[in-house]
Amino acid sequence: MSRDTVYLAATGTALPGDPVDNAALAKLLGASEEWIDLFVGTRTRHFAWDPATGEVLRTLADLCAEAGSRALAAAGLDPADIEFLVLATATPDHLLPTTATEVADRLGMDHLPVYQLQAGCSGAVQALDLGRCLVAGGRRAGLLIGGDVTHRFLAARRSAARMPTEELVNHVLFGDGAGAVVLTAEPDGPGERGVALRGVLNRCAGRRRPPGQFIDWSGISDRDTERRMLAEDYKAIEEHVPAISVEIVWELLGELGWTVDEVDHILPPQLSGRMTARIMEHLPVPSAAEVSCVTETGNTGNALPFLQLDRLLPRLGPGQRALAVTVESSKWIRAGFALERA
């Protein structure tokens, strides 16, 4: 059985603890609150670890299970109804077992294919792309989850005075969170107007390009090296991401035969409050309402498009269309998708 269209039945999110605002963060880091407000533009974020002590309070599996559980409940489905699970993350709890399989266990799912995608900002789109193929191959319902945690890469106890600026930026840019979507072969019940996934763009375009983002891990052989575990080429990102975003919009529109005026909602890349605003200025969708979350959630990596979808679905009216755009600068993955409510 092959199907052309898949549907987004419901979303769920998990943002740990209370939001940490710039005043609190500035105090912890010994940095300037004004600097965060002005140059990053992110107002709050959530951490699954205690910024004061560094103690890890919630694992990635905790967050992903929570988001997945909420999405299932919202879709009115039982774990047994789910026929595949895809989890995208850059920061798994362990290498094995995968966080995806642990989440399946936590959610009471058994005897089903479980995939984990190692990805960054484009992970949600990769999950949608894979999920779309699985549904086209005959599966009726799947759960897609994206999430990331920062405790391995940020240490708020360190004083900002001793931190290079590019490292300090990481501390104010990122947050922890997870989001999930239930993908189904059928629109909701009778009388429901399903949200159809009309198109997906998922393309790695990093040939001969140095990485814009770098996240490392270490083991017995190299745990004592002094290299940086998280690094971003902010100059390259600022230069290329807006332009690539514009291309993604045109490409999706061209593929679907939609015009710029037919886009009611736009989900732009969520790098930071400031960067997202800059990208929005360039996107050729004048009539579209922006659906963003980064100023409240921080950059939560693989969770971002799911958090945006969680905000979009209640606003997406009958007949309305939405475009999502994301650029993963690690290896310059251009990604996006298009939705339409019947």
């Binding site: 039945a9 419901a10 998990a14 919630r58 905790d62 299970a65 929570e66 997945g68 559980s69 909420r70 409940a73 919202a74 879709a75 009115g76 489905l77 039982d78 047994a80 109804d81 026929e83 936590r106 959610l107 058994d110 005897h111 089903l112 599966r139 009726r140 319902a141 909701d188 019940g189 429901e192 107007r193 949200v195 679905l313 209640p314 606003r315 997406l316 009216g317 009958p318 309305q320």
Partner: protein, 1012 residues
Amino acid sequence: MEDIAIVGLDCAFPGAADADAYWDLLMRGGDAIGSVPARRWDPDDFPGVPGAGGFLDDADVFDADFFSVSPREAAAMDPHHRLLLHSAWRALEDSGRAPGDLAGSDTGVFVGMMGGEWGRLTMGTPARATPQLGAGSSNGMAANRISYHFNLTGPSLAVDTACSSSLVAVHLAAGALRAGECDTALAGGVNVLLSPSLGLVYAQMGLAASDGRCKPFSADADGIGRSEGVGLVVLRRLSDAVADGQRIYAVLRGSAVNQDGRSNGVTAPNRWSQQAVVQAAYRRAGITPDQVAFVEAHGTGTVLGDTIECAALGSVHGVPRPSPCALGSVKGNLGHLEGAAGIAALIKTALALHHRVVPASRFADRENPQLQLAARGMRLLKSPLRLPAGETVAAVSSFGMGGTNTHAVLATAPRPAVSRSYAAPAGASVAGAAPRSGETGVFTLSADTPEALRRNLLAQAEDVAGRPPGDAARLCWSSNRIKTGLPYRFAVTARDSAELADALRGAAADDLPATAAPRPWARPVVAFLFTGQGSVHAGMTAPLYRDSPLYRRHLDEVDAALAPHLGASVREVILGGGERVHEPAFAQPALFAVGCALARTLAALGVTPAAVLGHSLGEYAAAVTAGALDLDEAARLVVRRAAVLRDLPHGGGMLAVRAGAEPVAELLAGEPEVRIAALNGPSDTVLSGPREALSRLERALGAHGVDARPLDVTHAFHAPPTAPMAEALREESVQATAPTLPFASTRYGRMLREEPLDGAYWADQAAQPVLFDAALGALVAETFPTHLLEIGPRPQLLPLAGRAGHAAGLEGLHPAPGPEATGRELAETVAALHRAGLDPVWDALYAPGHRAAERLRPYVFCADHHYWDRQSGPAPAPASATRQHPGTPSPEPHPPTRPEHAPGPEKPGLVETGLVEPGPAEPELTEAGPVLAAVVDAVVEVGGHPRERVLREARFYEDLGFDSVMIMQLKSRVESRLPQIGEVSVQQLLPALRSVGTLADFLDDMVMAGAA
């Protein structure tokens, strides 16, 4: 044929204490067969019987106290019955309802069990018979006892068709539901291996597996291995289950029963009848064989039985089909549960449809090629089968040795329709459409003793902690539906599951935590105290408004009532958070709105006051709550009052003084413009007058060491400067009726009598001092409240009541105790009142989206008391008797009840029964007198209770489990112990039979009368 929903289930099988463990056992292909426990029989005594089988670890455990069954009766009760009682309670809880809520309903009970071994073992010698044994040993009583203990009045019957009993019971239950004989049915079966007798029979017939294991459809199959267990399902008509929002494991589409008739011998299976029953069931279910994804077969693992069953199934299922019909039998894991075999198979199938995976069939890897399964459109499940999405149909077979065959068709449950949060049209408020995440709920739990509460708190903590983290609201709502109704009540507020798990674990660590309370004997009597004006503040109750849809609705309603008079939305003024709320035009309407909305919110939650009191302005909301003023009329008056006030010059003030009226009066002599505005308590007085005069007084009082604090008000209330406000009210024609509740008037300082709440009343209550102290004193003295609820945005009256000594022994609660108060404080108020005996309207606490059933772990019974009577042992007679000839129809019974002279625990033959627990040293009864001692002795003798449990307060029926038969026995024991009273008629005795103490007092009187 109407579909029947399986909405709840419970089971205990060898190696699987509950349904979750059963599923785990099935999914890992577990083997539940072990050697015969020493407490049953010594396998060496019966060389002809396999020394292995499926045995429950704790078939002898029974929580007799929970069911108010006396230890003596519990020991006499057939162990089958005991297992059923536990399982029935848990199954009903699993169906999402408190078992107590079904009391008096027409719920039916259908229990399959075979034989009557307990009766034979215990009553084989007529001399051994006792009333308890008589009632304890009949099969019919197995169902009837459930009906009795749960007070279920629908059909109640035991079914014995040998090994198909429990599936036939399900068939009959479904029929009774379809016929409208009952709306809910408990159905299932039980089997306990009390003796090796039937094992000997199987051996003699050549049907016993050498290793005690059924190996269904295997080339190694060599016969039956016996096993035991209990299983029950809760059934409803599908339409009812869906309408009630119950979770559904699977749907019973149709079933059939037939008979072999005159087959090849009474115990021989009949292929044609098996085929016919399968076809009949499919016909009734409206399906064709190609739709059946798998069949849970009878599959005993006898070569003949397997061959005939596969031939019958093959002739039905061997049709053109997309894939072969999967085949398996749980007997490979559990063995043959005889009377309970069908329910074990049905529960396995229901769980498989629920989880959408069919477990592999044990011993399938050496499939018997003679069965030709592939040629017959079937395949034995050698690995788990993942079921595709969409509807799946499965079937279950169960065949009786005497030729009664049954077959049932099941299907996956329909998915409940959910209203999607985003289905709202574009532009709709996002917050209003979906339930807010993080809503505060109240998690409730109840148990029959503090110990049981702790045990169950731990079980729930473990269960909640094991779930994916998330909101607690659905768990809370479900707990309100399921886990209420037992004497010891626990209630705690929670937003998310992690917080809930911590709270449960913490509570379990305490002896009787603050979040739990003992059996409340009556409903709480609640007085509402409506706060006066000093409590107004910017943004008051805003967090509650954000959190509670209920409060939101009621504040909106009151706002709508005020708006036409006020010409503005007081809600906006309140929630706006600005200082406008303090303006004279708004302060009073705002406080009135908050008071009315809070009272209405509480009323919607089932918290209704027994009496009301309002402090000054609070009296308007009190009058609305008491039905004396309707909301519109009160709104009009309050706005009128505020409007007059707005036009009065500012300048006056008020001063709260921590002293009584008398010491203040002396100082007032020098300040003629200052009046006493309120007498709030023996050391709480409020003064009203010009600010300069009040400042002088404040200094003077300070010099005397008396605390005084200016109040945040714009005018000198209850004093001449605000007299125009009072006079304006006097001219109003007020539409008022007599309050329908006791109304403590702060105008009169007593309960309101016949006085009308007319314009003059409202004028006087504005002009005259507020007599709060006296009014509250009268309220407490005349209405005996157990709880004082402050209805206002900040604590004002509860502290006053405390200092005045009016709150001694009363619990004070405040649903909105300050600017930070959210929905949690409101929920905490409801939780506290529930602990005190209130059964709130729980639904009102939750957004509709959170009123969704979650299965909770069912009740964990006390496992401390074993009622087991070993059938062999050092005592020579029983052992030699059972050893005589295998298959002796009636082995020498071992009396399950204690002989007249209690044996010590070391007495051989009785192992750890509730009866032989050594009691502590004789309690101190000498002080209490010989009559009480005689009553206690008699009770212990009749009921077999441990002596320390027979307290003065112990009630005969509820606590000691006495029934009429035991009462008769008690009467004769008492008479023989107290010869001086002679013969007492039952009529005389009955009124005294409330508790041990009341009986002793009554008999004491008789002894005294005889002596006089």
